[in-house]
């Protein structure tokens, strides 16, 4: 199973992030962000579809919220990518890849644990990306303030997401 135990929230891990070096690299990192969101979107939908009847409404609500929120984040990232004149990564393509590698986590803990990994991974990614942008002295085509504002908002959503999953896990213990 995927191990997200190395993804602490709050900067415990040693971060040696390199500054973002160019528009091209920024676009590539935003593409990776889109893929991560698409993975969350596809896996949440898949969890709900495969294991829906076995889970309580609170878990299904969490999965639905994760799916909707990731779709929204994806659209925000796509708007940034568009301004950098780079291509997005079609959702259908990632959905297919998730489908091909997906193994159903039928038990309750497995589904929630996967969601926790999703949220923690996304948080870590945006946190490192924001650090890497702030450490960079490159003048990007895209407005730096807007870029950082969008990424900070998304990072906050991910931090809240971690709390939501953790609360739910505690409720069912």
């Amino acid at each position: 199973m995927y191990d997200c135990s190395t993804a602490p929230i709050g900067g415990v891990a040693v971060s040696l992030t390199q500054p973002v070096a160019s528009d091209h690299q920024l676009a590539r990192l935003l593409q990776i962000g889109i893929v991560l969101e698409e993975v969350v979107e596809a896996r949440s939908a898949k969890h709900a579809e495969e294991t829906g009847e076995k889970h309580e409404q609170a878990v299904l609500d969490l999965l639905e919220h994760a799916e909707t929120e990731s779709a929204e984040h994806r659209r925000q990232l796509e708007a940034l990518i568009d301004d950098l004149e780079a291509d997005t990564v079609p959702f259908e393509e990632i959905e297919m890849l998730v489908e091909a590698q997906y193994e159903a986590d039928e038990d309750f803990d497995g589904v929630l644990y996967d969601q926790l990994c999703n949220e923690e991974t996304a948080y870590k990614f945006y946190d490192d990306l924001i650090d890497a942008i702030e450490a960079s002295d490159v003048t990007f085509t895209i407005d730096r303030e807007r870029l950082l504002a969008v990424l900070s908002d998304i990072r906050e959503d991910e931090a809240e997401g971690v709390e939501d999953v953790t609360d739910l896990m505690e409720d069912y213990q």
Partner: protein
Amino acid sequence: MNTQAQYLKAIYLTQQQEDGPASTGDVADMLDVSPASANEMIGKLENRGLLNHEKYKGVDLTDDGIAQAREALQNYCIIERFLIEVLEVEEFRAEAKQLEGVIDETVADRLDTIIDREPQCPDCFDPEGDVCGLLEVEAEVTSD
């Protein structure tokens, strides 16, 4: 600037090639940095308990250093495969090198859920080509 992970990876590969301690000069060459920069970072890694450095003999990774180096190597393989399989990036080696300092193991593990990777990774890594040996074969087959 090179990250800790890049240094550990370079030292690990140099030690494999030499079948013994790695000279700081070889590590500096592999990373394309000055010997002074390499020495500085090697000192930091020694303080973190990741390697032992003996003057005139070279650098030897500790067990912790080896574990972290192998993880770094695996992350690098994941990034390379992700770039070629999912984003279809032609210059995937150059871009993987740029991205390995920004993409940490948590994110790499998630990207790993949508790529095809062989179980022997990272032992499949080819230090000469600075690329996954198996990926190289597949890339050649695809381009035929």
